[in-house]
């Protein structure tokens, strides 16, 4: 059972007032709020457990190492993969950079890299840089008129163009639109393309079974999954992961170092140079435990209810254009009011304590496609309520009056 009241009470930040209005936090696509257990874990780590990990002989160091590695096991179980297939990074952006860099020696001039037009900049620019470096060609997967990756068209496109790499998002941060990945990954396997899935938005909302999904790589950010900032990671199918070129070099990731030559460890070790974000990893275990303990179907049901209600309410307001897909969505709604600039609407909404985001949301190609400077985005998560939607809609109507 999904007990909303208990869950809401676990998130201390949500109780505050802003500008004398109760805060309505509708910016979870940017970063999620954190349950008390995560905050407490950080406090307890720094107050009683802090030590550097690996190769330490002393009690604290071994304790920290064990807990650090336990979180690797926990996230591997969350995604239903092996613990050696998880690499810690500082976020989804670094994960994508690590993978793109790691494929350098696997690509040759003239190879193709396929991305889509709805990707976050983090899943565009690293591929542009890689393409430049190895003289590969960037090709763009087809999307439908309502800005969803057209899976069957994509599969056909992949079979025709035979790219070496296909990098697509599991869900769009701007729109919330969910990609039907199976046909795409199947096509990737047929043409032996490396499939890289940007799970930054989907990892929490959709709890993907990566063993079943059978992609080669999947990236995530802890801070968008109830976890701390400064942490993310990636799943990599072991055989592919271990053959990636090394990324950052330094301590921990080496086997031997002489002044002239160094050798590296096997994955995941070889991708984790330097002192990691120990506190972040250990506290993230609490976020994973929190998500795992939830009734997943109950959570999705709740999120659907909120989302559908918000869509319905927004649709009643004349002049509102909704860009997001209205069914197949993790819970992010991008919209505008007539040709008002989203900046103005978001600024006014802030006056009412409604925290939404405006702008291009790091997806300029979507904005070019839509021919708009940006959108207002309201994004929902498990801790949002129908009351939040009501407050949002009420404030939005006031803002519109101010603008008209």
């Amino acid at each position: 059972m999904f007990d909303f009241e208990t869950i809401r009470a676990d998130f201390p930040l949500l109780t505050q007032t802003v500008n004398e209005y109760p805060l309505v936090y509708l910016d979870s696509a940017a970063t999620s709020q954190k349950p008390l257990s995560v905050i407490k874990a950080l406090e307890s780590y720094y107050s009683a457990e802090n030590a550097n990990v690996h190769r330490g002989r002393h009690f604290l160091s071994e304790h920290a190492t064990r807990r650090y590695e336990d979180t690797r096991t926990a996230i591997a179980e969350y995604f239903n993969v092996q613990r050696t297939e998880i690499v810690w990074t500082k976020g989804a952006t670094e994960s994508l950079n690590l993978i793109a860099n790691g494929l350098t020696s696997h690509l040759k001039s003239g190879d193709k890299i396929a991305i889509s037009a709805i990707e976050h900049h983090a899943n565009i620019v690293p591929w542009q840089e890689l393409a430049k470096k190895v003289n590969a060609e960037l090709i763009i997967l087809p999307i439908t008129a309502d800005l969803v990756l057209d899976s069957n068209e994509c599969a056909a496109f992949i079979r025709e163009h035979k790219p070496s790499v296909v990098a697509v998002t599991h869900a769009s941060n701007t729109l919330g639109n969910i990609t039907d990945l199976e046909p795409i990954i199947t096509a990737c396997k047929e043409v032996n393309a490396t499939s890289v899935i940007d799970g930054a938005q989907a990892a929490m909302h959709l709890r993907p079974d990566l063993n079943k999904l059978d992609c080669d790589f999947y990236v995530f950010s802890a801070h968008k999954m109830l976890g701390p900032t400064g942490l993310g990671g990636l799943y990599g199918r072991y055989s592919r992961l271990n053959t990636l070129d090394v990324y950052q070099t330094g301590g921990e990731m080496i086997e031997t170092v002489s002044l002239t030559h160094s050798t590296f460890r096997d994955a995941p070790g070889k991708f984790e140079a330097g002192t990691p974000h120990i506190a972040g990893v250990i506290a993230f275990a609490e976020a994973i435990a929190y998500l795992t303990a939830l009734d997943f179907n109950g959570m999705r049901q709740h999120e659907h209810t909120i989302f559908n209600y918000a869509i319905k309410q927004l649709s009643t307001i004349a002049g509102i254009t909704i860009y997001s897909h209205k069914e197949n969505n993790i819970g992010n709604i991008s919209f505008n009011y007539r040709d008002e600039h989203p900046f103005d609407l978001a600024t006014l909404l802030d006056g009412y304590g409604i925290a939404v985001r405006s702008g291009h949301h790091c997806t300029q190609p979507i904005m070019s496609k839509l021919g708009i400077p940006g959108t207002v985005r309201a994004s929902f998560a498990l801790y949002n309520s129908l009351d939040d939607v009501d407050a949002f809609i009420k404030a939005l109507k006031h803002c519109i009056e101010l603008l008209d």
Partner: protein
């Protein structure tokens, strides 16, 4: 205090609540003279803003005064821009360096809009004008 600014800010000062304040700011923006498209060059674009903000800044040697023009594609920034222009337009460099936009914005309860973290370009504009004024003194 120079009078165009005072005339301009009266409605903001008298505004009842933050909503009315924003309404007055947006009205101010509406009244801003149109910025000629030829002045909207890349150099006049204030970098790093979510909205498009142009500030044209020149110096009239014969009059020894700052010549400013600006525009924005958002209403609120355009209004704030209008305030800035009312503060500085036509002043001599000496006069301009005497003016502390922070104090004025503080007085109007708009100080948070001058924070660099806003990313609205207002602070960058003030800095640019002050730099020009310093150079021309």
């Amino acid at each position: 205090m120079n009078s165009p600014f005072h005339t301009v800010t009266q409605d903001i000062e008298n505004a009842n609540g933050w909503q009315q304040k924003y309404r007055q700011i947006m009205l101010l923006g509406k009244k801003l003279p149109v910025m000629p498209d030829v002045l909207k060059v890349d150099d006049a674009l204030v970098k790093g803003c979510e909205s498009k903000v142009w500030l044209y800044i020149d110096f009239d040697h014969s009059e020894n005064s700052l010549v400013l023009a600006g525009d924005s594609d958002t209403r609120i920034v355009k209004g704030l821009l209008a305030l800035i222009l009312a503060l500085y337009n036509g002043l001599t460099p000496e006069q301009a360096t005497q003016i502390n936009a922070y104090n004025e914005f503080e007085r109007l309860g708009l100080i948070s809009h001058l924070s660099p973290s806003r990313g609205n370009g207002i602070k960058a504009m003030v800095d640019k004008i002050q730099t020009m004024a310093q150079e021309k003194r």
